[in-house]
Amino acid sequence: MGLMERLFARTGKIAWGVHPDERKRPVADLPLARLPLPRRLFLPLQQHIGSAARPVVQVGQQVAKGQLLAAAHGEFSAPLHAPTSGRVAAIEDITAPHPSGLPCPAIVLEADGEDRWGERLPTCDDPFKLSPGEIARRVADAGIVGLGGASFPSAVKLALSQRSAVATLIINGGECEPYLSCDDRLMRDFADEVVDGVRIVLYAVGASRALVGIEDNKPEALAAMREAAKPFASIEIHAVPARYPMGSEKQLIQTLTGKEVPAKGRPADVGVLVHNVGTARAVHRALRHGEPLIERIVTVNGGALERRGNLLVPIGALVEDLLAFCKLAFAPQRSLARLVMGGPMMGSLLPHARVPVVKGTSGVLALTADELPAITPGPCIRCGYCSKVCPMGLLPLEIAARVHAGELTAAETCGLTDCMGCGCCAYVCTAHIPLTQYFQHAKGELAAQQRIKLRQQHGKRLATARAERLAREAKEKAAIAAARKAARNAAKAAAAAQAVASEEASA
């Protein structure tokens, strides 16, 4: 810890991050609405980090709400369930909700409008009688992934904590991204369910206490959560300063516990596990009510919309359906300039509106030209604002200069791998340099180089294996030939001996 951080730690101020215009209200104060059930749902097989799920249904099959559509494949994976009843119309490639606009395989479900539940997952009245392993298994079966945005399979995290001791469970209610208020709404409307989910997760990981971190710009959510958590001494609700990126795992841990997660390390290294509030509620719904993860709250916001708000959306609904429900504005000065999935800081640009809402979608933003930043980059004037705001304590200007020069390895030694892409540096950059894009590009290039390296090593192993196999086969062939020759010679000698013997006998 440097001198400045020490000083800031004492004064209780935070030395990193930015505070962009929140723009969360009035959307956060509007009651939760439900999106009318779309006629078709598009469910990508990969909505999580890890390997894609494998379909277990046939095209044309009738499925009930909550029925398993695709099973988890491998250790890092999550299953997929039907968000409503209907018919599997197709299993085909659709556009992924990703800036590249590349296709991804998905199950297309045609809703029959009945919304008829099938068999639910096993429920239990007292989850605290189950073993932690059983809870992790049920969470895995419910297809729950981290709802904060990273979409890491939650059960893997629960199981991971059984291997390394977790002293503190942190529940992330930070929601630091501007525009988004889905977690705020969730905590206001379902505080009891969130707290129950926290208790279950707390029991499953064997931690002694849970700290719920909520930014102080959400007083209603704080009050609701405090009320719900009153009977439980092990759950503490903490107001944390509203500062972007407070909702980032490492920053929240540091603010709440004072511990710093080491570079390239995981929160488990400091005895902490972090789950999102939405994930906690999903765990409650799965264990108490047997509901798999088939819907979520999505903030629909942005200047280009007539109607904004938080919607309960079935997974697989198209962004187009959301925009149709919220109606794009007619006025030319409010025309749609950019569609973003997630928050404006870290969300991903959408190629068009015909992409589905997935498990990790926290918001859909329809932004007007006025809401977009200036994009004509100038030369770096070395003002150093970027390094001041970087929550990881990096020097973004130095890293970007190296990436710009094509020196990726040098960028890596400058700490590129510790960058989490929060975008604070690009937000404050006086020269409007797209710093985050430089870092994303460099990370992708480095990963590609690593893949090529692995591929070449793999190829080399195969080539050696082939050479060995050819040598072995040649040897075996020679041995067989030699054995045959020996057998032939022996037969010849035997025949000769017999001939001699018969000659002698005849003589």
Partner: protein
């Protein structure tokens, strides 16, 4: 007879010792860099560089007879690694690297002649006689040996398709 045996044994031991000593003291030093460079090469012995196998190519590159960009399948990454190893300056932007490639069989033209399979340096081609052949894309290293052997031009090298996990953000246009 004992004299003969003894003298021959002595002679053998003495000559053996001499050979051993000569091996130790008069050893011709093989440039160890060649072995290191060979370690960096793909090792598929495809021969596209014009040298018989990767060790000959490594010797040529170290000796200066071939440029560091000689290896096609190795691409830009290998060229950069070799340049760093040998201390050669290299303009990476000038290196033409169309990215990783892999072979694909046009199934409607394949006649199942089995010539490609025996030419494959990494056993990436599956197929029996008079059956349509197929390339295991995970295994194919894109050396292109099979393409030359195919009598019907059913085999072609194609760029590895870009998927969501492979996609890379483009570099920002310079300020």
């Amino acid at each position: 007879m004992i004299t003969a045996v003894l003298s021959l044994t002595l002679l053998g031991v003495a000559l053996g010792l001499m050979l051993g000593v000569a091996d130790r003291f008069f050893a011709v030093a093989v440039n160890p860099v060649i072995a290191q460079v060979e370690g960096l090469m793909p090792g598929s012995q495809c021969g596209q560089c014009g040298f018989p196998g990767c060790s000959a190519a490594a010797a040529a590159i170290v000796g200066g007879a071939a440029p560091v960009t000689a290896c096609g399948p190795g691409g830009k990454t290998l060229a950069a690694a070799l340049a760093a190893k040998l201390g050669v300056s290299l303009d990476l932007n000038a290196v033409v690297d169309s990215g990783p490639k892999q072979a694909r069989v046009a199934e409607e033209i394949c006649i199942g002649c089995c010539r490609c399979g025996s030419a494959c340096t990494s056993d990436a081609i599956l197929g029996a006689s008079k059956q349509i052949h197929s390339v295991l894309t995970e295994v194919c290293n894109g050396c292109g040996n099979c393409v030359e052997r195919c009598p019907t031009e059913a085999l072609k090298l194609q760029p590895v398709p870009v998927t969501l996990t492979h996609w890379v953000w483009p570099k920002p246009v310079a300020a």
